[in-house]
Symmetry: C2
Subunit: 324 residues, 2 copies
Amino acid sequence: MDTADCARLIRNGDRRALARAITLVESARPDHRAQALALLGALREPRREALRIGLSGTPGVGKSTFIETFGLMLTGQGLKVAVLAVDPSSARSGGSILGDKTRMERLSRDPRAFIRPSPSQSQLGGVARRTREAVALCEAAGFDVVLIETVGVGQSETVVAELSDLFLLLLAPAGGDELQGVKRGIMEMADLILVNKADGDLKPAALRTVADYAGALQLLRRRPQDPPGFPKALPVSALADDGLDAAWEAMQTLVAWRKEHGHWDRTRAAQARHWFEEEVRQGLLAALSREPQKGLMASLGDRVAEGALTPEVAAAEMLRLLGR
Amino acid sequence: MDTADCARLIRNGDRRALARAITLVESARPDHRAQALALLGALREPRREALRIGLSGTPGVGKSTFIETFGLMLTGQGLKVAVLAVDPSSARSGGSILGDKTRMERLSRDPRAFIRPSPSQSQLGGVARRTREAVALCEAAGFDVVLIETVGVGQSETVVAELSDLFLLLLAPAGGDELQGVKRGIMEMADLILVNKADGDLKPAALRTVADYAGALQLLRRRPQDPPGFPKALPVSALADDGLDAAWEAMQTLVAWRKEHGHWDRTRAAQARHWFEEEVRQGLLAALSREPQKGLMASLGDRVAEGALTPEVAAAEMLRLLGR
């Protein structure tokens, strides 16, 4: 199928065309890459914009249940919802243990929802570009909300935060009165902390955890992109479908404020610039893995390993050969 | 002073010349950089080799006390000991809260010891190169053991492990029967886990922690560079000077085995190659911050931020301009 046909089908919301296009941007083959760039170019105008929501949470906090319940709430309001997963761990295991569609059975059968299982065998550098392009495809296909999920391994939160308009951190109720081992850097990225499982026996613990995080968030410096009272912590129960409406309301408040005060456009512009710079950096480094640079690196590296050259002297020589 | 004089003084173990040379390799000024490279070149042959020991541990585990007691034990055996610190956190605070010499008062007065406080205002990329060069200067000055300490913030353990012949992880006794929040990646780097504060009331907890970690280490895949029984966990008390002799014996066993089986040379060769490749990568990326590349990045970045170009298309254009 040619690019124009494929672009038209995606614009019309054809799910199979969208799925095929995501497979195309996931491919590392040069001819696929060229087709993918042509397709993304064809889909740029007229521009459609979704609300991109990043969601992070360690395994066991009920992320799948949250996405299912939250997604069904949004589709119930007539919104179209896409779910993408950024899962660097699947690079090792060769795919999620349970497919994402199995994890979210009801949502996956919803005609207004589109769930894309995480691809296997990927590198983090590639994950960012691929996910960014999959988000662009979902926006072109007319989705209103794109949920980008990460299991929070290594640098994946940073990648997801740089792709998102909103960043949610999903937590489980803590056992004691101590804050969970949430890294400060991740807390600083969160626009909303949602403490899940606020139901049944765990409800008191969940409310206590919310209070703990509310206190911790107050200690963080206020960011320019936040209205008063944000970032905030809220209790939710994905299982009992409780509190998700309040969470969605908070998200909409945040979005409206940011759009009104220019932060929405500024953030999107800064994110685009970030990904441009990152692509240039990756491209520069990738050149070292191609001949003839690869061979030069190997032979100079051999001389360093033998002790004939210091790392600094050999690096200066390599940079000279590269014209730097 | 010219390079030859300075090199001669360092070879003779002149501490002021060594301190000045480390200040020189810490400097970012181009003329200092040229002098530093000349000095390092002059000191390459005849080669002297120290045992490089990396030491990681979060604040509060008693790292300074350990270094002081361990260092004094080694100098008491007639060995010359240098202590270097890799502290990326000082980049923010502008230096350690307490100077390193204050932290190790007795060791700093020992004529066989040399303690170098961590420099302030540094970037992690620069930290690696600077520390590597400081280690080379200490080796040339005839030190037998170079201890490289890190507080374990972010990527600094990886940097220190790639600079070291041995990597020690210092821990405090755990409160419960759970393993402390030690990241798996750091445990996999450790050759020896030392549980400090194995004295007084904490001794039972320390021994329990040793047993927990011994169990956890057995679950890790054995690495080719380890003799049977390694990596291992041992209790120590830096305060009571207890168990440090056993820890030192374990280190020597490990070193002897690795030298005998060729791992020592192979590891050093691989480390040198790693630093060469890292220097090339840093050098390539640094070019983006210099004119005319910097200006091109900014103007293409502006067009991406405005939405006139996608990040991918702009990056491809930039790489074309760079001849990549």
